[in-house]
Symmetry: C3
Subunit: 277 residues, 3 copies
């Protein structure tokens, strides 16, 4: 309940401050990321050319770096924008899409987290493990080794997440069937969402953009990461509950944007399944 | 009313001629731009490689240049395609997305308008001011300094718009809460649309693609710019009026495409709020 | 009926095996391609950088090469990924978007089909003719010379399609008002779909991604191509039949994803209009 109130305050803050969220991101889900950023009440800008990223990030309230369709030219822009953001104390959120899927992705994701101070990393378990250095095999970018167990998050995963956060001095959000958010000290579990979300591309990227929106609105890293993950899960769950029997993933994506546009404190309090452990 | 009849004729012309609209555009809203171009009855093609833009634009009926996710390689293609379009008397429509947000964007937008004969420029007020040379600070690409006043467009803005049009020998469409379209002599105000449109990414880009569709169908620059702006506004307004209470920006985008697909002369005459001043 | 049972088995195979479909594709329709791949039950990954395509395709079950927004850097990645796929017996599906529209596109499409063993090529008639070497003029990427005649596919087209398949040692799917699928020996005609599909961008690209999903799930080239084309047509037709009178192309795209998400063997048997000739 305490956590739900925090998220509600963070939501009000986004709507009041309308932060500008600079994205250096992929072309597959960029449109969805822009739309979810607008739906929550923030303002997105996508710009990736080396000639302008330092200038663009200077106006921004947060920077989202998403590795979805990584290419060599953009990596340089990511690093430059990230450094400038660090100089200006603008929070950086990293989505290491597909880390572990190829050595190149793992290397670049590591290079970014080693070079830039990252406020929040959000990924699925495979990506986070790859970034940590555990040898895994990611199958695509939309799949993940899911958190096992319907009952609870196994304690080795909690330990792993906290260790990751401590080692990289960051907040980490591991999203899947259940979500873990930790800064190495506090640890939250979010049990919202629905498995159908894994059948829509970019729900992870959209979650990262929501985290960027919260952090851009002066919410601290752990609360902003929690708010982003919970918002995505709650919207997915409300959206799912509004589906007619013939509706599937096409309609669910539309409804998620609708729900977030109208999201209220009441919704968060009613639907939020958030546990501090 | 006279203006509504003009727009209606332009619409019928698009559906009859099915113009090919060559886009050199951004990856955030390209899908929406292609779909709105198809919905109105035109045919989009997106191609940006320097190896083919001169050939591609030669078959086209209009060329849309959109700076949304500008990168250095594409700028060269924009210039080459624009020059070829000029040689062939194919109208060029410029969307200077984010001009003013970074010096790079402002510079490129200026370079294009200084090098290419542009039939129509469409942007929000901040972008148009930046292009004119007024020092402003754009906040993102989806936001804008909005036209102030619910009552009417202030006269300094009308003067500014006409001056812009005269100086750059172009038609300019400044879109926002109200829209101004002028060729430096005639000036139209469009009061359609709804503020929720500003919470969907790419409504500006889509408007520009509609202008491209009209100009590709042998409508002159001022009438085509007016038709594009009015079509977007009317579709947004009809779409908004069809929203259920739970529906938000996700559904609105879908409905805008639906409305434009079915748009009739009757809709334009019923909904159009267009004033020549 | 026999064909419908084949498609049904192929569908069940996709849902069971959840193949990973590596796409090197365009930024206009990438989101739709990813979503339709997920809707059918497969897993998409979009990756185009030369630093990782050989690694990425090694994990994949099929490779889709789509020329929609061709650029010189990506061509190299397409060739490298295609060669690696050939070494590993991973099926390659080619969508020669816009072949014939510019000499550059025709040249690259030819280079790919001459260098890589392609399991299936899917395009509209103009594109397939351009690839074959017949001089045509493509008007945009969403348009095509349509199969003429409501009654039946003219026999010269059947001969052309079979000749194409034999000459390039591939399966070819020519999609339009009716669809032809042939491996040079067997030839299928699919009469599903609706003309409104041609007013949505990327229905061709999405069809190609469905073929990629079927081929990735151990369905042979001719059956997988047939299944992909029929799935797209059936989904389009069911979706169209569910449209309210005010709904247009925006809603139809959403419904196509919904239908494919829920697609059942019963739907295929009920709606499939597939003829072996």
């Amino acid at each position: 309940m305490e956590a739900c109130y925090k998220i509600s305050r963070a939501l009000q803050s986004v709507r009041k401050l309308k932060p500008l969220v600079h994205h250096i991101t992929n072309y597959v889900t960029a449109n969805d990321c822009a739309n979810i950023t607008l739906a929550i009440g923030a303002s997105p800008v996508m710009a990736a050319d080396i000639c302008e990223v330092r200038d663009m990030v200077s106006h921004a309230n947060s920077l989202v770096i998403n590795l979805g369709t990584l290419d060599s030219r953009t990596v340089e822009s990511m690093i430059e924008a990230g450094k400038r953001a660090n100089e200006l104390n603008i929070p950086v959120i990293l989505d290491p899409v597909g880390a572990g899927a190829t050595p190149y992705r793992t290397k670049i994701a590591r290079e970014i987290i080693d070079t830039i101070e990252v406020a929040v990393v959000r990924g699925n378990l495979s990506e986070i493990k790859a970034l940590y250095g555990i040898d895994i095999q990611t199958k695509g970018v939309d799949s993940s080794e899911n958190l096992s167990g319907d009952e609870d998050v196994p304690s080795y995963l909690k330990v792993f997440a906290m260790d990751f956060a401590n080692q990289f001095h960051t907040v980490v959000s591991i999203t899947g069937k259940m979500d873990i958010i930790t800064d190495g000290k506090r640890l939250y579990i979010v049990k919202n969402g629905h498995e159908m979300l894994s059948r829509i591309t970019g729900t992870g990227c959209m979650c990262t953009s929501l985290i960027g929106s919260y952090l851009g609105a002066e919410t601290n890293s752990i609360d902003g990461a929690l708010a982003g993950v919970a918002t995505m899960g709650i919207a997915g769950e409300i959206g799912y509950n509004r589906l007619d029997k013939d509706e599937g993933t096409g309609s669910l994506k539309v409804k998620i944007l609708d729900v977030i546009y109208h999201l209220s404190v009441k919704d968060i309090l009613k639907w939020g399944k958030i546990y501090e452990v």
